[in-house]
Symmetry: D2
Subunit: 363 residues, 4 copies
């Protein structure tokens, strides 16, 4: 399905080399102030062609709002956003019509649908995430009404780790200064050098990003199958190159003992809270009031110039392949705004189903 | 929501110390041969009270089928399964009515619902998973018609790692010989010793389990928001103590390069397949035909005898707490059949929505 | 699917001659006071064997609550209700294993599922509605918090029309005094005589019931596909013998002109309301604040003693059939509480999704 | 919600006087041949401005397909269709900003959302149905693969009844020759004269349309809450002016006896079928193999020139209103293609969930 959510629903559509991609956002309460710039700002963060270490495909990614907003306020009706595909160059893909690229969805789409739009990965292209980011921009605006901020940063690329420790939202905003969205300047430089190196070698690298949601009130999440953490896991895993998701201490918790992992309760200014936040802000699938902390493992971009073997879908002949298109040697920095969008969508949805926002109107 | 799935839907209900727990399975095609033993066999694998390193709560967990099966064949109508709660001892919980246990859902349920059934964790108890295992038994029986087997084993407890390498389903069946469901005998012994040690200390430990689905055909998974991997991530993360989920190389993929991570295609007996399976059997959210490999990180059981601090929900006084009930010092081995059930449910659901099974009848 | 609703969800299960029927109600906010009597009272209204003009199958229909309610208050978790099938006599059905009864679902269930539980209509039996009535009892209790009452009465049986005009909820409560739930005493007597006559002839009759929801606030209903009227139409049409549904003036509106059909607006005590209520309390799929008025056309019970022709599913031979079991010659009076339950479920669901009730807790 | 369906899902968006309206169709199997003309043909049947008895708003309603179709074949990915709003004249509506029109959704949208796009009815405008018709065109094309045809005709306007009796699809195609889509030429003329008369008087009229689906195989429909008839009732009732829906004998069945209403079974060419079709092709919510026959009651257009009273939403003053815009004095003929589209969508959806079409690909 191409629709996500129960109360704040997003439907995305569009192929990489078709006329456009877009999103329909249904269930945003009426009365939210939204300008085109609110959406554009987020799209610009994801947009390709912005640095030497990203793809050279240049898309302006202009968001056009076709419904649901009138006089800069949401109507409670579906918000349709359309983003034209501009810098499309399909010639390079003609030879790929019958050649599934390793690590890509070509082979499995062929298996599932019988045929596919092979140009630029078609529907499976990362371009689809532009629509998610546009939808996420609206979710972020809604969450801001409750002072919730969703911010991401890169904490590891090809084994190079950020030593940055954040305390508040402002800290994480620094990520935007780094080409790789890493707040640790030294690590950032090292990461950029590493990416440059693999790019020249015609190879690619992966890494880990961390997304934090600040000021989420306690009580968000619908047990037992729509827990906040399972919704986050699903939403984040739905992003193309993500191979792992963890909350709080995540995989590290497997090595801790109970007394090390449990967050004891205490009282601060008359409110119960946890002394530590190893749980990542979630217990029993419901938010505790502490920051929500999740991490995604992103695999290296599968499109590489280095020679790989594949098989012609028709002739069944094994052939060598060297992918020459315009690709990000490390997609992770551009995944950060996408992952933020998904976290924002999860929160908006669960906060409406959970009664934190009125489902129809804000006033 | 307490319902999971689109075509093969499972609704679970029940509190730990209420009269019963149960599941309604809706959407199983008619004509599937099911006996009470098929269900009981799986429940027995999850059942408490089976070894020195597990909780001493003894439940027979007898499955009673109240609908949907007639003359040992499914009718295509909802299958209602009821499991009575027998060995319930609620006295120990009276003092916990106002004391949220660290690492448990007590505090967040209170925040969300205003009050709760505090006895044994109520709805948030691991007892709820009995219902999932019963439902999973039906999914497994359905999958067997296509020779699909879903098998799990423990690969790490508190840092002790299994060195076991599996090649086929039979290999993993050995896990059932080990008290901790670990196929590596030496590691298994070490794990058991470790659990015994922490149990005596009134502490607990976590670990990692791996679940493998063999013989899943290519083409299973519904992009873009119901990809096989996002469904698995959601389903597995919905299990109580799980803090992380990964597919294939998972978090390790963050350190690999493209050429190391991509699985090249080749032809074997006239069929296209991948030479390696670093993707864990999924590309673009759709199965490749290789085994589906996923891992879950499970935190240490939060119920420990060691002293922890908490806060009285009414008086807001900070108090010390030592949890004395009957608990598993390491819940991981008992999570294996639950995780298998969830993977089986995901596959059954996506294989029906994907046209691999007729949605109404098998004959 | 056997699940209904988005926020207040009901899953029913059970076959007529299986061990039990039941419902799982998921999404009822925590803190609602519910006793077993609240549920039993509604079940008793639907229960068979209560009068000379109803079936002689006697079921006590005892509701057993297995989860979701603790100390007489809802927990916000699924409420599982089980009703045992007691007075089951399957012998009469053995000869019907291969003989689809005209007007029943036997033939179509066979077509869809390949086989079926033929005893008493199996899943398609009106017995399934007991589960709906139990669920509806909880919805009604919830609605009462907002002073909403859902009341039904019979307005026509086999052409005999009630002349009763209601003004307030109390008026409609009189329906319970009549064996056929008709508030017009003279018409009620005539209807009873008519039913007696067709019963003796081995035939059956249908009729029309009207369901009214009082005190529904304005603003309930989710355009464009979950309008209050389309939800009502779906919910009411899902009841076995219903062949038509109308709102307000309904089919009569097809003969009116605009000036006759439109309800002009006026102001009463500072509130805008309509002067008339030809719309039946709904405009654009959203409630106006006037009573919601809907009607269902119910066909004559298909089980009749009179000779009908059918075909043996295996031999394909045409045979004559005379159905001898215990059946209601007019099912309409017993459909009234079922239809009320469905209307209550629709309202509970749309009022939660619409923000009229907090989705998790009442306090 | 603005999304309809489970397997063949349609999301519509757009306000009457916004930039465009549109639909996203998700779940159409890959490989269906679709041209822009297939869609345009149906839009042209619904398009305004085509006769003296319809509104003079002229819209070309050009469908632009932005995704999901490549080389004239569906991809199995979402199909995004956009229809620009061209002949928009919002001036007439400025004075209606605070004046809810009787019989329209203005008042209830205001109640639900707090504010609204008042121009042309905004989201509640009949213009939204253009998106449904576009989606329905794709459903119709899919159904044609199984020789299913969905055809509608007008059978009554303001009490004037068609005497036309159809036997096969070709008969109903004649409806397109009549300005009011009535197959009975004499009745058609009378209806047109009637509409002309009320138009001159500044009034409007309603009527009844019948939609028939031919060649639907037996076995379509998902009990108990997604029965074919409840899905049809919901889908048809979701169309603006519809106030009643009936299947087969519908409300008339309330006056029949069992022996008159039941359709006896017989064998024809080795296949079991019913001798008559009073059920309208549905038993127990599942298709019998006979034509599906449903009827909708449509109220008179609420926009009339005759003087009506309403209330200013801000000042609460009662004022007189005479609506001068461009409106259809009888919307029924233009509702026929919309109702056909809804029936086609229901069938496409239930035939995919029911296994009659492969959910992902046609070849």
């Amino acid at each position: 399905m191409n629709t996500w959510g129960r109360a704040f629903r997003v439907t995305t559509w569009g192929e990489s080399h078709g006329p456009a991609v877009g999103a329909v956002i249904d269930g945003c309460p009426a009365g939210l102030h939204i300008t085109r710039e609110d959406i554009q700002k987020e799209l610009d963060r994801r947009r390709p062609g912005q640095s030497s270490i990203a793809t050279s495909r240049t898309e302006r990614d202009i968001a056009r709002v076709c419904s649901g907003i009138y006089e800069e306020k949401t109507l409670g009706t579906p918000i349709s956003i359309i983003i034209r595909n501009e810098d499309v160059d399909s010639r390079a893909y003609e030879e790929l019509r019958q050649l599934p690229r390793p690590g890509h969805a070509d082979f499995t789409y062929h298996a599932k649908y019988g045929w596919r739009d092979h140009r630029g990965g078609g529907r499976a292209s990362a371009r689809e995430t532009a629509a998610r980011v546009a939808a996420g921009a609206i979710a972020k605006k809604l969450l801001l009404l409750k002072h919730i901020q969703v911010l991401g940063h890169v904490i590891e690329i090809h084994g190079i780790r950020s030593k940055f420790v954040f305390e508040n939202p402002e800290d994480l905003l620094q990520a935007e200064m780094s080409l790789v969205r890493c707040c640790d300047t030294a690590a950032s430089d090292e990461m950029i050098a590493c990416i440059d190196r693999v790019k020249k070698a015609g190879n690619s690298v992966g890494g880990i990003a961390e997304i934090v949601a600040f000021n989420v009130p306690k009580g968000v999440g619908d047990p037992v199958f729509n827990k906040l953490d399972c919704e986050l896991a699903q939403a984040l895993m739905s992003i193309g190159a993500v191979k792992g998701v963890e909350l709080g201490e995540g995989f590290k918790s497997a090595r801790l003992t109970g007394i090390e992992m449990n967050d004891p309760f205490t009282v601060d200014s008359g409110r119960i809270e946890t002394k530590t936040n190893k749980a990542g802000g979630i217990l029993g699938g419901i938010s505790t009031g502490s920051p929500i902390i999740c991490r995604v493992a992103v695999k290296p971009t599968p499109s590489i110039r280095m020679r790989q073997s594949t098989v012609n879908l028709e002739s069944l002949e094994e052939v060598n392949l060297s992918i020459s298109g315009r690709h990000d040697p490390c997609i992770l920095p551009r995944i950060v705004p996408v992952a933020e969008a998904m976290v924002a969508l999860v929160l908006a949805d669960l906060m409406i189903t959970g009664g934190f926002f009125h489902p129809s109107r804000l006033t």
